[in-house]
Symmetry: C2
Subunit: 241 residues, 2 copies
DNA sequence: ATGAAAGCGCTAACAC
DNA sequence: GTGTTAGCGCTTTCAT
């Protein structure tokens, strides 16, 4: 790997000149510029971003901590993050907690993984990330990000309950409302709903959306049309007249 | 952020001593060791890995280039990579090409994205990754990794056709064979199969697995029991007697 | 057991 | 328009 010093020597100029040219700064003659660029190409010069980052005291990188990147909808969230970061020329440092594989479906009850998260945050900070995104696998209140974190953090798919840490969550109310509205617009009168677990924030919010649209359309809410779902259950809702 | 120099000053020792202690190297008295460790805790000292990487000339990081991280089975592949890397204390630098979103289903026909891949590889090299894993979204022969790459590379879910770049692929033959064997073991005699597109390496290999087990069980291969699938087709196979 | 100092590759202030 | 040099935070050799 050629360094900037070697490149400078090959060109017979100083490192400052090379640095300026490589970073598109003014103050170099067209001739020198051309020479340096060609030489860089020829030597297959690759700038060392690690050195640059150290000098600049910034890394253009953010840490992304995913509770479990294989769970439904999480890859799409991370995909969106990578999309925007690429446009901003930021690199993501992905940390995959694999919580679901470690704790199965119970991880959101245990607090002992908070310590794990703290450690991962520390590692990310050592790598000088400029911010952190925590991607939950299941919408709920999460306290694993220290409130005094010296860099910005945001919580995706979960609630931080801290004014310092914004949350980005799914709009379940509107989503459910749109579905119900669509069905009513089609002329249907009796719309049943199979909810998720009662303690699921998603399930609760969607039910609210359902009820909102019913109310707006002056349709009585019939609890008999609402059943709790789950992979372990059979559900029966009397819809056909 | 406290630096090692500040920490050293607070302890009244040299940076060399602090460095040795922090890295669990011998040659420091128990007293000094205790002092430094406590002080580091108190100052909330966070080592700067960027500086360390520059000095050490290594980063313990590898670049992972995914053709599209939202496509079926890809998150699981990346998940496996993160799992192993964490155990080895390596950081992955994820690059998501989002090929499917950019080119839809035709990207594997065009070569113009090879240039994109080259650029991403260069960016990763500038960040001093020690190796590269390319995760294809669709098994096929891919030539986008330069043969003269100065660091190791491996291709996942695709074939590199280069002796320098190992490929890790799905064992479709065995997978299909296991399924067919299971069905025959259950006493079934007529096993139909819906394949993928004829030019899919996966589909071809699975058909081979199917045929192998048929042969081993002295069952004639009946082309009438094989239909080409696809989301745009209806398939009919006469199985019930 | 501890410290001084060089140097990793780069940027930028300053001098010429 | 170009060059010299300090210094980012760390590790490591070599003194002491």
């Amino acid at each position: 790997m050629a360094t900037i010093k070697e490149l400078a020597k090959c060109c017979g100029v100083s490192v400052a000149t090379v640095s300026n040219i490589l970073n598109n700064k003014p103050g170099a003659s067209a001739k020198t510029r051309k020479l340096v660029l060609e030489m860089a190409e020829q030597l297959n010069y690759t700038p060392n971003i690690v050195a640059k980052n150290l000098k600049m005291q910034k890394t253009r990188s953010i840490g992304v901590i995913a509770e479990d990147m294989t769970i439904f909808s999480i890859p799409d969230i991370i995909d969106g993050i990578t999309d925007y970061c690429q446009k901003q020329e930021y690199q993501i440092l992905l940390t995959n907690l694999r919580l679901f594989k470690k704790y199965n479906d119970t991880y959101y009850n245990k607090d002992d993984y908070y310590e794990l998260v703290r450690q991962e945050i520390k590692k990310l900070m050592e790598k000088q990330v400029e911010g952190i995104i925590y991607v939950a696998a299941h919408e709920r209140v999460i306290h694993c990000i220290p409130d005094n974190l010296p860099i910005p953090a945001v919580m995706a798919y979960g609630y931080s309950k801290s004014s310092k840490i914004p949350s980005v969550v799914v709009d379940d109310v509107s989503g459910a409302a749109a579905i119900v509205k669509y069905l009513l617009d089609q002329g249907h009168k009796k719309v049943g709903v199979i909810t998720g677990k009662p303690d699921s924030l998603h399930a609760q919010a969607r039910l609210v959306g359902y009820q909102q649209v019913l109310f707006q359309n002056k349709i009585l809410y019939d609890p008999g049309l609402v059943a709790e779902g789950g992979l372990d259950k059979r559900v029966r809702i009397p819809l056909r007249r």
